[in-house]
Assembly symmetry: C2
Homo-oligomer: 418 residues x 2
């Protein structure tokens, strides 16, 4: 039977999440976790806690030998990295919620964990209340993990829901999201997909042992989605979601990207509304499994942090099994995507760069096409991010066997079906 560790916590940040944590830990003595000191940036500000609890000097926490756990819920990625790395070096376990920091420094953070032997847990950094990291790390052997598809950004999903269900325009919906506290202080991080691709970066590590920088993953946000795209989706009885996706290819590598995608009614991701997140996992035999929960907001975040804290009592560590015990997977460039593209000016569309174009709808005002294009092209080109062009993936967008598809198309053409 494992020993039961007594936790003395140094907390960085006392916003809604930080203060919520403080309250719950006071109310839950059985967790054996006590917050000894809280470091805050704005020291003058009035706080709901004894003055003796607070300090503005991070070393009051980082150098306190009595403190064996640092919990970090601040908004500044650079400051967070300094805090986390110093804490680990000083022999403390760390719980962090800073997805940007984690995505940007994962290799260094892994090395620090190995050097120091301390735990670094960050379940709250992806899908807040859904234990997705723990399940990928502990449950889904990557030889059995066929694909993972997820809505990982609550605020863009909130915005898309408001646009689709309440017919709001983008600006109104964004404002609502910010008022509800679901959008980052800088909405660009959410809206343009940075937050989603940051989360996807380390989820790929836990899913497949892939270790990449966010910049090496094909992604965009929802900023280019046009009102006309929503009409098209409605006509097809589909929805548009910002979907992070990864799936194993026959070549043994992994296709991964974060892009807007048309989602059919019978896809579990279609059920994910407002600030909720959802994860669909396909593994050998199991068909689809679906995890659903709140992905944004202070409470779900605090909840995941609490689970990490309670795991530290049992000396829990991520082992990065897919990286250390398996043959890690690599990202593939050799696949194709079926895309929907809408535009005002056909001349900005480089038709020659498509493998083929299946549909071309010239309409009043807004035209759109459906075609197949290589991942390489999208990764390197900029034209689909400019000139008021909107790119949305078709459902099941990944195409591996282009030759087969071409032959099939040819035969259909010959048969006069197309």
């Amino acid at each position: 039977m494992e020993t039961h560790k007594q936790l003395t916590i140094g907390l960085f940040g006392f916003g809604v999440v930080g203060e919520g944590l403080y309250r719950v830990l006071q109310q839950t003595p059985s967790l054996n976790a006590r917050i000894k000191k809280v470091c805050i940036k704005n020291y003058g500000k009035k706080r709901n806690g004894p003055a003796s609890l607070f300090t503005a000097d991070k070393y009051d926490l980082l150098n306190d030998r009595d403190i064996n756990v640092i919990v970090e819920v601040i908004d500044d990625a650079d400051a967070a990295f300094t805090i986390v790395s110093t804490a680990l070096k000083n022999g403390k376990d760390v719980v962090s919620a800073s997805k940007k920091m984690i995505a940007g420094h994962l290799p260094e953070l892994l090395e620090l964990q190995q050097q120091t032997g301390r735990s670094f847990l960050y379940e709250s950094a992806a899908c807040a209340s859904i234990p997705v990291i723990r399940n990928l790390e502990e449950y889904y052997d990557n030889d059995l993990l066929h694909s993972i598809k997820a809505i990982v950004n609550g605020s863009t999903n909130f915005i898309l829901t408001k646009i689709f269900e309440e017919g709001l325009d983008f600006k109104q919906a964004l404002l609502l999201a910010q008022q509800a506290g679901f959008a980052e202080r800088n909405p660009q991080l959410d809206v343009e997909g940075y937050d989603a691709v940051n989360k996807w970066t380390f989820l790929l590590t836990h899913a497949y042992g892939i270790m990449e920088r966010p910049a090496s993953i094909l992604f965009s946000g929802i900023q280019h989605i046009h009102a006309a795209d929503a009409e098209v989706a409605r006509a097809k009885r589909q929805e548009i979601k910002l979907v992070a996706q990864a799936q194993k290819l026959k070549n043994g590598k992994v296709a991964a990207f974060v892009l807007p995608q048309f989602v059919k009614q019978d896809d579990p991701l279609a059920l994910v509304k407002n600030e909720y997140n959802g994860v669909v996992i396909e593994s050998a035999f199991a068909d689809k499994q679906f995890f659903y929960g709140k992905g944004a907001g202070s409470f779900p975040t605090a909840s995941a942090i609490l689970s990490d804290i309670s795991a530290l009592r049992y000396h829990y560590k991520y082992e990065y099994k897919k990286l250390n015990h398996h043959l890690p997977h690599e990202l593939s460039n050799d696949f194709f995507l079926r895309v929907y593209i809408s535009f005002d000016d056909a001349s900005v569309i480089p038709r020659e760069r498509f493998e083929w174009i299946e549909e071309w709808h010239a309409r009043e005002g807004r035209e759109y096409l459906v075609g197949v294009i290589s991942h390489r092209e999208l990764k390197s080109a900029e034209w689909w991010k400019e000139n008021n062009v909107s790119l949305i993936l078709a459902p099941d967008p990944v195409i591996e066997d282009l030759e087969l598809r071409k032959l099939k198309r040819k035969s259909l053409e010959l048969a006069g079906v197309l």
Copy 2:
């Protein structure tokens, strides 16, 4: 870094699950798991595998020092217990899918795990493809776990779906379920709730450290549900599901039961159709989290078994944390349930045993009432299981503060609202 264990497996049972496992392990060498011998009851039967693989003598597996893992997927609970306990005593790790056997022998099995230090994993025994045991064991500290509500029996859910969505009668729906392979050989086990309460017995251990026999949990199945009940549900725009539920009460104990329940449209469990299972977990802060996946059928079962097998490579064990590291919770008898009861003959309803009756609908043929009754009464009495009476819980059925509710009702009556 942990050592990577090489697994040599002795497999009991070569039905769809067993044979499926054999094929996948052959196709996935990286799992480092090889099936050395398969024990089958019906030795004469032709099998898709080399004759040398099979034996009818269980000791060819249990006494083979070369075999370090026993996987057991047979249908006979008593035989399964002999196999599992002998295997553990002989120093082998064990993976089992026999929910009935586990529910009936959990105390002995825990003791055997402690004595032998071996792993005994059974994720496939509950909610097949959903990693519910692993999440309850590893992720949800029971101080943070407010409630868990689940559909754990795929065949009854399949039957209810067919009755509701395709208007089939019970017999037709049951036949379909059996044809599809979702019903136990003996349908009574599913239909009358035995399978569900068996699973709930050990899920309560992993959720709250509760260690009880199935007989001490209030349960029934769907066998008494009447066509008129489905009409009432439709009129309320609700569904009827067989729901296993457990929630913490203010007295620190846990209310737990497995009964048919009216489920509202906005309850995630309403999304669970056909043979799927669903689990809704409420924990501190997190609001609702929902896990959804296939709960019956050979492939989802095989998938969960594969995850257990791959976990053995890392020496994974259930620690029964809620039992060993926490103050285990107890079942409570001191709560009340809001119930719907339909019947042909009003004289069989003991009105005096209700706290109060809120509605009484006398209709052509089938009457029904809605009232509040104590858990004790339902636990001890038989009248609601006989005389063609049908009992279905109202949504959110648990009532703790009866006095408060009474006062509220009184005031409403005085106000002439009721």
